[in-house]
């Protein structure tokens, strides 16, 4: 590999890193089916919902969560913001749950569009998308 090719590869890698960081910095918003009454919820309560430790939000709404895929920068931002953990730590948590016969993780959606389509369908669905995504017709839940 010539020197110019190495430099080009490094520049591309840095640009990719920059893109990932930008997406992470872009943040997330929690969305839910319009049937969910809550307008906001504490991060700790949302964490319990997405870790399937409860099915209810503090206002009593029954919800079913879904996650974005593990390599999504939006999931990274959500995991740090809501769970206060890394994705690796949450993955280890799910291994613990799965292999102790307790719980299966939420289903995963591959993109904002897929998540939005899913949240629109079943009453009580809750998920998250990038903060710039269009969420017309959905309930946006503020994280307290």
């Amino acid at each position: 590999m010539r020197f110019s090719q190495i430099v080009r590869a490094l520049v591309v890698s840095l640009l990719c890193l920059g893109t990932a960081e930008a997406l992470s910095a872009q943040g997330y918003k929690v969305i839910a089916h319009p049937s969910v009454a809550a307008d906001d919820a504490p991060a700790a309560a949302l964490s319990k919902v997405f870790l399937k430790q409860t099915k209810k939000l503090p206002d009593g709404s029954t919800v079913t969560p879904a996650d974005l895929s593990k390599d999504s920068p939006v999931r990274d931002a959500f995991t740090k913001g809501v769970h206060s953990r890394t994705i690796a730590a949450v993955e280890t948590y799910w291994q613990q749950q799965i292999f102790s016969g307790k719980e299966a993780p939420p289903s995963t959606k591959g993109s904002d569009a897929e998540m939005i389509a899913w949240v629109k369908a079943p009453p009580g669905a809750i998920g998250y998308v990038s903060s710039g995504a269009s969420t017309d017709g959905l309930k946006v839940i503020a994280v307290k």
């Binding site: 993955e91 292999f99 016969g101 299966a104």
Partner: protein, 385 residues
Amino acid sequence: MSSPFRVRRALVALSACSLISALPVGAQDDRFSFHGSINSAYGKSDGLGVFGLDKDGTSDYRAVALLFGYKTSENGRVVTQLLHRRVGSSPLSASEAPIGVVWAFYEHRLDNGVSLKFGRSPLPRGIFNEVRFIGTLLPFYRNGAAVYGETLEYLDGISASRRFELGQHWSIDGTTFAGGFDIRAVLPGETGSQVIRLRAENSGGAQVWLNTPIDGVRVGAFVNNYQTTPNRTIPEASRQKRTTTTMYSLDAVRSRGFLRAEYSAFDGEGPSGKSHFDSWYTLVGVKPLEQVTLAAEYSKANNRLNLPSPVEPIMLPISEDIGLGVAYAVTPSLVVKLEGHRQEGYAFDTSVPTIRPPTSGPPFRATLAPPSKAFYGLASIAVAF
């Protein structure tokens, strides 16, 4: 083999392969889930056989678990786990079925948060019992054998679990259960170790965890009372009494390290008299990097044997194990480990001297032979999907 039978078998195999290949790795949809774990090692000891390792070394050392779940309704699901396990030259290898059904249960969740499990389900006991073969969740190849042994792995019966929120970020996770389970023990004998297989029935117990406001820190207690069988055909006077096993746990896991300690005890009554068994371990780990774990473990097991009168009781320090290990998590689902242990005591696959006969006259005291020791090491890889 007849031709139609061969064709039928090929079709069944093809259908199974098609079903598995059609699923993404670690597949899950809204109803069906499929997960697996492979924990595979090469190990060697410097002399005496210990945990199936000897001085020839062996790569016939693994535990493979496949887990299938199917959601039957919003509140119900069935789960089964198949286990294939090899333990090198240990007599356990010969006593294990090639593939065993270690779980097969139906779970129903009530609206009040209670989870009911019916069938063969993982027995909640301490920190590691339910995940004792899942290498990606263990700092060493296996969890502390002194405390967990080869028994109390699963329950044939019913269990009920629930979380109770106490406020101020305190909570309790409680499980109560009833049923029976298999007891297996690898005991040293005159010609080496042998596997004892028994069955416990009419068992009842509970596991309780108190979760503290500090994320990842909890304390637990386990109690189980059971009757070892067969008992019905034994004369009333010489029947074994019911046995109670207790266990206490401290589990503190933080992002940069962990501290875990557990103590377990039970009383037994065999043909040679009563005994009191207790064991404990302390496990400490630090994570200088998120992917790297350095772990140290000290475990010890004692058996206080009440020998037939007039011989005085004797304390047999069965085993003392010191282990050091390093684990590198390429991802949370792919972990490679290197570990070394020093074991001293009387629990080896190879026959070692244990108790010397009591003196023929007073004070009728048995004595212990000097303990034996062995160093052993394992290099392992663990995958979960």
